[in-house]
Amino acid sequence: MIDTKSLKYAKSHEWARLEGNVCTVGITDFAQKEIRDIVYLELPKIGKEVRQGAAAGAIESVKAAFELYAPVSGTVTAINEKAAQDVTVVHRDPLGNGWLFKIECSNAAEINNLLDDAAYNEWTAQGGH
């Protein structure tokens, strides 16, 4: 099990886990339930420069297409090819094997702008919109 307290969260429902200077990004359990069946993942290209809060990719579900926002700024160093090929892993294990991409942070302190576990739970309890 992933300790959700080790994660930080964007209001746009991405989670972020900082290890050293590398931040792993995925979508939250709340988000994967809310958007319903994912049918397509558009992950950023490795090497792409991303900015905190700006669109980095997209998720398409049977409901609609959603932007995937970068929770921190930096350079994309890895993407989860397995998740792109079998999107159901994002539903089965959103916080683990369903991770989406990794960012080499340009300013790791930005992660403090994100919500912690308790604040995110409060945000989703209010509807998360």
Partner: protein
């Protein structure tokens, strides 16, 4: 299900026997380019083909047979008189390469459409060329881009502000036009949040793009303030005219401060949706944007030079050509006929009746047990939300599927995105009260089934040629070619 033509095929069957060619054309084609095998085309008699397509057409669902309450799509009846005029040989027999003096009747009809649409919207100039509403959006964005290029502000103004209730085409058009999309959230009343707009509006904003009435079927009552703020920031105001069926003869978008807008002729102006070919969108602009419109444009010569219409093929500041010839002339003629037959009073009555019908249906569905998203009266369409927890897990999708069993087309569902479990109905002015009552009764029956036998609703449809389709599997593993066995 009907068998396909390939399944009906029997070797040697023929509808037409072709005479043997006197000269075999393959003699001049290099041998390596010739087919080695005949293509696997179905072999059928003429009667086989006629029965197949007649039976298939009888499975069709259309506004000519039943009620089509798709919200945001304005599925009004397509009056047959317009079909008659658009297909009149004098129009339908013309070729787009004929000189303008030979098609003055067609050009006069198109000019009449331009003048009528300009009068309804208060705009100054029109291009009939775009192939659809979304195409007109893109053209509008390119026109705004050319305007800012001309004013030396193109590098600075990179941002287009769009509310989160917008049609998905708005941000898509803005992104395709090379702009950055900034989304602003709607207020609890389902309107533009003016305070939030003020925060993001600045001299880097090229355009504020909004839909009136918005996709919740509500009039944007702060629109004059939004226009004032946008113009003070030097930005253009764009109106997505998808919902123009609520405004004709009631308010002119130009009076609301819009600099440009598009109209979907297949919605408000009764051109059939689909129809097997390109559609028609119209972009209308205020005077300051006219010289950037695409070519060709219709130009009327002064009266002392016989007043004829001609086609202007080039203009130095125009964004250029956006498609072949003058647009989807057949569709445009249809709309011109609709406008000519309705006239000034008729378009007003169409919009007024569309609003009355929508409010009647809204009330009927509320009485049937659906919850309207807003407490306020609606414009031409109404949005509802349902709570699956109170309906034994029955979702909006299930209700939509069950409606098919009652002989109704499903309403728009899960749009606008900001409404949970959304259902959106737009009856248009052409439906009778009796039809709306029958539809509401069907919804009422389905809601009582959700209480007594929810599985029946979740498994719907039951009475159609195919049962519930697996949309998730189809989207994840699409098979888009027919496999010949």
């Amino acid at each position: 299900m009907l068998p396909t033509l390939f399944e009906l095929s029997r070797s040697g069957k023929r509808a037409v026997k072709f005479p043997k060619a006197a000269m075999h054309s393959s003699a001049k084609i290099p041998a390596k380019l010739l087919r080695r095998q005949n293509p696997s085309l179905p072999e059928l008699t003429e009667l086989d083909v006629v029965r197949h397509f007649t039976l298939a057409s009888q499975m069709n669902y259309s506004v000519d047979t039943q009620f089509y309450p798709l919200g945001s799509c304005t599925m009004k009846y397509n009056p047959k008189a317009n079909f008659h005029w658009a297909l009149h040989p004098a129009f339908a027999g013309a070729h787009p390469l004929w000189p303008s003096w030979a098609v003055q009747g067609t050009l006069e009809s198109l000019a009449g459409l331009e003048e009528g649409l300009a009068a309804i919207t208060g705009m100054d100039a029109v291009t009939l060329a775009p192939a659809a509403g979304a195409h007109a959006e893109l053209v509008g964005i390119l026109v705004a881009g050319a305007f800012y290029q001309d004013k030396g502000q193109a590098a600075k103004r990179r941002k287009i502000i769009i509310p989160d209730s917008a049609h998905g085409t708005n941000p898509a058009s803005a992104a395709l036009g090379g702009f950055e999309v900034v989304t602003i959230k709607s207020t609890a009343r389902g309107r533009i949040d003016v305070l939030q707009l003020k925060k993001v509006l600045d001299d880097t904003t090229a355009m504020v793009m909004i839909t009136v009435p918005n996709t919740l079927g509500l009039f944007e009552d702060d629109v004059l303030e939004v226009s004032r703020l946008a113009h003070n920031a030097g930005a253009q105001m764009y109106m997505d005219g998808a919902n123009m069926n609520a405004l004709m003869g009631i308010v002119k978008p130009a009076s609301l401060g819009f600099d440009m807008m598009h109209i979907n002729l297949h919605k408000t102006f009764s051109v059939p949706h689909g129809g097997g070919g390109p559609g028609a969108g119209v972009l209308l602009v205020r005077r300051h944007l006219e010289e950037y419109l695409p070519v060709p444009r219709l130009i009327r010569r002064p009266a002392n030079q016989n007043g004829e219409l001609s086609i202007l093929d080039a203009h130095p500041k125009s964004i250029g050509r956006i498609r072949a010839f003058h647009g989807s002339t057949g569709n445009l003629l249809w709309a011109a006929s609709y406008l000519a037959l309705l006239g000034r009073d008729g378009v007003f009555q169409a919009s007024r009746d569309a609003i009355v019908n929508a409010n009647y249906l809204r009330r009927l569905l509320q009485d049937a047990g659906l919850t309207p998203y807003s407490d306020e009266p609606c414009m031409h369409e109404a949005v509802f939300t349902i709570d699956p927890k109170k309906l034994n897990g029955v979702r909006t999708l299930d209700i939509a599927k069950r409606l098919l069993d009652f002989g109704f087309y499903a309403p728009t569902v899960y749009f606008p995105l900001i409404v949970p479990e959304a259902m959106m109905v737009e009856p248009t002015e052409t439906e009778s009260p009796e039809t709306l009552e029958q539809f509401a009764n069907a919804v009422k029956t389905i809601l009582s089934e959700a209480a007594s036998d929810p599985q029946k609703v979740k498994d719907a449809p039951h009475a159609l040629p195919v049962r519930r389709l697996d949309d998730v599997l189809a989207a994840r593993n699409p098979v888009v070619t027919y496999q010949v066995s």
